[in-house]
């Protein structure tokens, strides 16, 4: 029995060895981009690879902002069945890298000059222990205002430059009888808005110390209390029915002109595009007042797994295609985000996209590119979720004062560390 087993194993490994001679021309890709626009964007990559003769094995796991996909990935990796690559977010990449299941793309990265063109802040997540383990696909930024131009013209508003301007603008909208602020009352949306509020209230240095370094002094400082007070001010401008609303419904309120403005990441632009609206004439995109010059980002990455030798060629082709300038441009035009390398020409992008690209470049050079805590790029998921809990409880009134909110925030983050 034992001998049979041994022979079997020997035969098996012999076969595997023989297979090395010929590479598997197939890319196995796990992702959750299943909705119309996202699937179309991914198709660009699929066609790029098909031209080079690589087959595309799709493993789509829809739903829940990637929760289901991550559960599926966990199962695949636990079974030793690594995909060529998987869509991943921030700290997940580092978790898997720490578990030692990620591949090494440093050779390709050096050849393609990624370390120079990919923003330094992003490299924190795509490089682990000096090795490239993931290829960033795009950069989303969250500190945007999306404004309905018709409503803006009607109330005679202008671009708000400071937080007080913004409040004045919201007051005008309120007086004109439109809902000033479209907000979806789900914890991640509230926290995403709060990211911008903190950046606006405390400035870039404060944001970095509080939300990227998790410095306790800053977290319980008066500036943080003021940020919560500002958030409370903003919440007075939402309609009473906001709780639990999905983000795209809130965007739809702005598109239809029921509401003036939404604070949301640039994926909201996809909704405007889908409704056949053009930036500048139908809607306006401004940076959140007081945050011009800084970018709070999140980014989709393709994590590259430690696949067998015969699949490495396909993986390298995938990574190279992902970070090629042509794909970065084509993909991000469709997706609404901006390229993950700063040297991609912005010719194909609309006005908001052009601003996004310029802002990203400036922020990267000026050191004001920060990970969004709400989107899981500021701290590990446990901390980010504890943060979302506190912000949401504050917005919905379980936490009543900003003093209490600050205490809760410090405790929750301490707890989750």
């Amino acid at each position: 029995m034992l001998r049979k087993l041994l022979i079997g194993t020997a035969l098996g490994s012999g076969l595997a060895f023989a297979a090395h001679a010929q590479d598997v021309k197939e890319v196995e890709m796990l992702h959750w981009w299943t909705s119309g626009g996202e699937a179309a964007a991914l198709n660009v990559l699929k066609e790029d690879l098909a031209k080079q003769g690589f087959a595309w094995k799709d493993v789509p796991v829809a739903g829940g902002g990637g929760d289901a996909a991550m559960t599926a990935l966990k199962a695949m990796v636990a079974a030793g069945n690594y995909p060529t690559a998987s869509q991943m977010l921030g700290y997940t990449v580092l978790d898997y890298a720490a578990a030692g299941v990620m591949g090494d793309l440093t050779e390709t990265a050096v050849k393609e000059g990624w370390d120079k063109s990919v923003p330094t802040a992003l490299q924190k997540f795509s490089v682990y222990d000096g090795k490239w383990v993931a290829a960033p696909v795009n950069v989303h930024s969250v500190n945007w205002l999306w404004i309905n131009k018709a409503v803006m013209d009607k109330i005679g508003g202008t671009e708000p430059k400071t937080f007080d301007d913004f409040i004045a603008l919201l007051d005008k909208a309120k007086a004109a009888g439109v809902i000033p602020l479209a907000l979806g009352g789900q914890n991640w949306q509230e926290a995403t808005m709060f990211d911008s509020v903190v950046l606006s209230t405390g400035g870039p240095e404060f944001y970095k110390k509080a939300f990227n370094d998790l410095d306790e002094e800053q977290l319980k400082s008066d500036t943080m209390k003021k940020s919560f007070d500002n958030l409370a001010k903003l919440v007075t401008y939402v309609d009473p029915n906001f709780s639990g609303r999905d983000w795209n419904l809130a965007t739809a309120m702005v598109i239809k002109g029921d509401a003036l403005v939404q604070v949301m990441g640039d994926w909201a632009k996809g909704e405007f595009n889908a409704a056949k609206k053009t930036p500048g004439t139908d809607f306006l995109c401004y940076r959140f007042p007081g945050t011009d010059g800084s970018v709070v980002y999140n980014s989709d990455m393709f994590g590259m797994f430690d696949v067998p030798e015969d699949r490495k060629a396909a993986q390298v082709a995938l990574a190279t295609a992902t970070l090629s300038k042509s794909f970065q441009s084509a993909f991000n035009v469709v997706k609404g985000s901006v390229p993950a390398r700063t040297d991609v020409p912005d010719t194909d992008f609309d006005a908001c996209g052009k601003k996004g690209i310029a802002d990203l470049k400036a922020a990267n050079e000026g050191g004001t590119l920060f990970g969004s805590l709400a989107q899981g790029y500021g701290a590990p998921p446990a901390v980010a979720n504890a943060y979302k809990d506190v912000v949401s409880k504050f917005v919905h009134g379980q936490i009543k004062t900003s003093d209490e909110a600050v205490t809760q925030l410090v405790n929750a983050i301490e707890d989750a560390k």
């Binding site: 991550m70 966990k74 978790d95 009352g185 914890n187 998921p381 919905h396 379980q398 809760q408």
Partner: protein, 318 residues
């Protein structure tokens, strides 16, 4: 019927004794053989994983399971709150919600189910049509129920909006958006779905009661109320047990209803322990805390169900 066929089949082989004994031994063993795979699967995938979850709850597992025991840290984190904590912790909210939801859901379903069954049992016309109407919601999944009620209860879309359009503008019903009342909307949707099924169970029970007993009671001069209070309802006791068990397990596993109806409620105020468990294990990468909450859920269920089952089933041999 079965016994007869068996006997007939056995007769021709009466002469060949060893074969017959082989066969009868096989027949004795057959139920065990058939049951063995499902028994083994249950042992591994239910009880085995219960033990595994208990083990994980004493480790410091985060994203992936880790096997080094680190003591009851996860439990200490769960039970750090007190009743005075303000704002309440998520775990506290989950447990209180479970209490409110579980009690109201089971109690209202039983009461409403029994009431409807008694009404339907009055030999009314069109019963054949009414019964499926009440029963039908049970055929829907929790997700469908949740989404439908979410729209119906949404002040901007459903009931409130409609009544405002009809002219009753002072009408106000925003429980689903209110952190203090959102859990009651879960009760409403849950009761709507399950009470018809409970009614069918009670109806079957009522039909099983011997008409002679009822007639005897009526001859003795019992009023209708007394009849139900003293005779019918006590006779329905086994149905209460089955209905209670069905409802209790529906209540405990109604994760999907909360998600579809409220997506967790404002500030997580509609969480049940199952939502807590999923959030912590899979979204927050706090597997140890998630496991600890799962263990506590199991202990709670055991503490409620076991004494109840024991007290009900012990009386059988009498």
């Amino acid at each position: 019927m079965t016994t007869v066929t068996t006997q007939i089949k056995l007769t021709p082989e009466h002469g060949a004794r060893p074969i017959a004994s082989m066969r009868s031994r096989l027949q004795d063993a057959l139920p065990k053989i058939v049951l063995a795979p499902s028994f083994a699967i249950t042992i591994v995938f239910v009880y085995g994983f219960i033990l595994w979850t208990v083990y994980l709850s004493f480790t410091n597992s985060k994203t992936f399971p880790s096997y080094a025991l680190t003591g009851p840290r996860a439990y200490q984190r769960l039970w750090r709150w007190t009743f005075e904590s303000d704002p309440p912790s998520s775990w506290y909210t989950s447990i209180i919600n479970m209490g409110i939801f579980g009690f109201l859901y089971i109690f209202i379903c039983l009461a409403l189910g029994l009431f409807l069954a008694i009404l339907l049992d009055q030999k009314i016309r069109g019963e054949g049509m009414l019964r499926p109407i009440y029963l039908y919601p049970m055929a829907l999944s929790f997700i469908v129920t949740g989404v439908a009620w979410k729209w119906f209860l949404d002040p901007g879309l459903g009931l409130e909006q409609t009544l405002h359009q009809w002219g009753w503008t002072s009408f106000h019903f925003d429980w689903i958006k209110n952190k203090d009342f959102v859990i009651y909307t879960v009760v409403i949707a849950g009761v709507w779905q399950a009470s018809g099924f409970i009614m069918a169970m009670f109806l079957a029970g009522l039909r099983g009661i011997d008409g002679e007993i009822m007639k005897a009671a009526q001859i003795d001069g019992a009023t209708t109320f007394q009849l139900y209070r003293r005779i019918v309802i006590p006779l329905l006791r086994p149905i209460f047990l089955s209905a209670f068990i069905v409802l209790a397990h529906l209540a405990i596993k109604s994760y999907d209803l909360v998600v579809a109806l409220t997506s967790g409620g404002p500030g997580g105020s509609a969480w049940l322990p199952s939502n807590f468990m999923y959030e912590y294990t899979f979204k927050r990468n706090e597997m140890a805390v998630g496991s600890a909450s799962a263990v506590i859920m199991l202990m709670t269920i055991t503490a409620i169900i076991v004494p109840y089952l024991y007290s009900e089933l012990r009386e059988k041999p009498r």
